[in-house]
């Protein structure tokens, strides 16, 4: 029996790798996605274009603006002289924000009166606007602390001392890149398993497979193994790229990650085979993969937090294997998790894997008759 399954696995690999186009689909897109995602998918801001409308002639405003010029996050694009110039700059997206300093800024500060800085910001992209305002606040805060100390303002009663764990510089790349491990493993495994039976059906070789002495379970295992192997190889490869190319720290246990990968792959292969046994043509298989994949990615916490979704949608994410695996990958990479800390993620993943594999086996038997 083992020999028969092995022969089928070898045949599957040959079928996958022989054709130039399908070889490309396995290797090209994941690599491109890895690089593009790794470099382009960032929420961190740099070169925020801003304009200055300074009505003050004193040294305090110059000092404050010097802080902005010295910050790598900001890039000054214009200096304006009247109110009317603000709107065109913002409307035309020449500047994301305009800093407006009133005429009595230095005088007020020297008289120990609080002086405001108007921040006029383009809210079209609300996330960028929120972050840019935070950056502005950080600059203002450090200016305030220095000014208060140098000019005898007295000290504030309390101040925040913020430290962030696991990602001290808050680089969003550290968050996105481990997520890509999960994303691409799912994509590749589904493509390999989701189309494998449909391709044989289209080419008519599935009937030939049926007249061999192999039982349905053996065929199923033979179809499942290539997906598992390719998914595991690709997952390990991307994890290595994440560590050595993108310099994402890996502080947890390798074993914990491998256990998570195995469970996640089993779940993904099961889902792929379910799609595969239902689809008659490759086109349908592809559509099935797409219809599963897009919600699975969006509702996994890959790019935006699950906690921000409506509650009904949050409940829906519990059946999504990627949700659990993302916690595992990020936990192992960044938070230093080991196996005992991840049980709460392992068992739902195992449950989904068992369910999807048995559903695939059941569908397989029924669709074969």
């Amino acid at each position: 029996m083992l020999a028969r399954v092995w022969a089928l696995v070898i045949k599957e690999f040959l079928a996958l790798l022989r054709d130039k186009k399908s070889r490309f689909v396995l290797i090209g897109p994941p690599l491109i996605q890895l690089l593009v995602f790794g470099y382009a998918a960032t929420f961190d801001l740099s070169h925020i274009p801003y304009a200055v409308y300074n009505q003050d002639t004193g040294f305090a405003s110059r000092e404050l603006l010097g802080d902005f010029q010295g910050s790598p996050a900001f890039q000054q694009v214009a200096t304006i002289e009247n109110e009317g110039q603000i709107a065109p700059l913002i409307d035309n997206e020449k500047a994301l924000l305009v800093l407006q300093i009133g005429p009595h800024f230095t005088r007020d500060l020297l008289l120990h009166r609080p002086a405001p800085v108007q921040v006029i910001i383009d809210g079209r992209n609300s996330n960028t606007a929120t972050l840019a305002l935070n950056y502005v606040n950080t600059v203002l805060l450090s200016f305030d602390t220095r000014w208060a100390a140098n000019h005898h303002w007295g000290r504030p009663p309390a101040q925040l001392v913020v430290r962030s764990w696991f990602n001290p510089n808050l680089l969003s790349r550290w968050f996105i890149v481990p997520g890509i491990v999960a994303l691409l493993m799912l994509v590749v495994t589904l493509l390999v398993t989701g189309l494998s039976v449909a391709r044989e059906r289209e080419q008519g070789t599935f009937d030939q497979l049926l007249v061999t002495p192999m039982g349905p379970v053996e065929i199923l295992v033979g179809k499942a193994l290539p997906g598992l192997i390719i998914g595991a190889l690709e997952g390990c490869f991307i994890a290595l790229v994440a560590v050595f190319w993108f310099q994402v720290p890996f502080v947890g246990s390798i074993l914990a990650l491998l256990v998570g990968m195995a469970l996640f792959l089993l779940a993904a292969v099961g889902i792929g085979l379910m799609i595969s046994s239902l689809a008659v043509t490759q086109q349908q298989g592809l559509l099935g993969v797409f219809i599963f994949l897009v919600p699975a990615i969006i509702l996994s916490g890959f790019a935006t937090p699950i906690a921000n979704m409506p509650e009904l949608v949050q409940d829906l994410t519990y059946i999504n294997p990627m949700r659990y695996f993302l916690v595992i990958v990020r936990g192992v990479f960044l938070e230093g998790d080991n196996m005992s800390m991840l049980w709460s993620q392992y068992w739902p993943l195992a449950l989904i894997a068992i369910f999807s594999m048995s559903a695939a086996a059941w569908l397989f038997r029924h669709r074969m008759q």
């Binding site: 960028t128 972050l131 009663p157 309390a158 764990w165």
Partner: protein, 371 residues
Amino acid sequence: MNLQRLRGLIRKEFIQILRDPSAIAIAFFMPVFLLFLFGYGVSLDATRVPVAVVVDQPTAETSAFVGGLQQSPYFEPQIYTSMHSARQALMARKADGILWLRSDFSRQILQGNTASIGVLINGVDANNARILEGYLQGIWQNWLQQRAFNAGAPLIIPVNGEDRIWFNPALRSRDYLVPGLIAVIMTLIGALLTALVVAREWERGTMEALMATPVTMSEILLGKLIPYFIMGMGGMLLSVALAVWLFAVPLVGSFWVLLACSALFLLAALGMGLLISSVARNQFVAGQIAIIVTFLPAFILSGFIFDIQSMPAAIRIITHIVAARYFVSILQTIFLAGDVWPIILWNSLALLLMAAFFLGVTLRRSHKRLD
């Protein structure tokens, strides 16, 4: 070009669309499905963030600070009795951050010193952590203002920023995500519609039959373009209707300008699909290419969710060949800011060039030959 022949081709295409509902599904079912999914699934607005609060020695000062946290819609403070249990909650991902008021908090304030408020944030999701940090700073500033006001004392913040947020004052992320989403969806649909149908014609061999007739190549292409253009505009209108009525995104600019720009963009997207189908003459490969070269760039490189300004220079250059980039900019502007002509005209010009390029190359590449 013969108008009667063209009419015949268009009629044939419509009959085919009606017979095989897959094109209708792509044009009308997909936008609704994707808009619902993204509209409800993607949000960057953090509310009711679980924060563990540890107060070593409760006093009037500490309860004033914690009170500010409790009243904020952004936080859901949970009181922990010790730093140890709060750390465990953070490790177990039950809390996104810890706020720690030490035992000397009130004493330091009374003595005129600066007490420090310890904040520990789980930084794994860096974007979320930044937003959380900003919210906490807001709470702190409110608290300072309240204290100064109560005591009649001057505020100890020399300079503070007064934000005036234009176009989206509440900073609702849905208001900018949904218009951008329309661009992403229409890119996918425009390319899929034409890429798949032309490839199908090749696969089934009906393209050969068409070639044996006196129709010219440009008539064949127009015969494909016009029906799917009409379908695509239908899907587009459906998406705009959902955005305005279901997701309550304000449409500040003019509807007709939006319609005109959409038409231009759709031409570029359909042109890209036609080009793909002339390269790949089978549906599987055409579908794959359509997803890889249209959907992913439209999603990541268009500025729909990730800010283009912040990308590395090399990738910023690449974004210029992504048609969706121009359309995202147009849509976000028309929806939220109104008819800002410089933005609309420049981006429309880029779309026009891309449409002309794709359609021109397709026409050049298509010959009445079978190989």
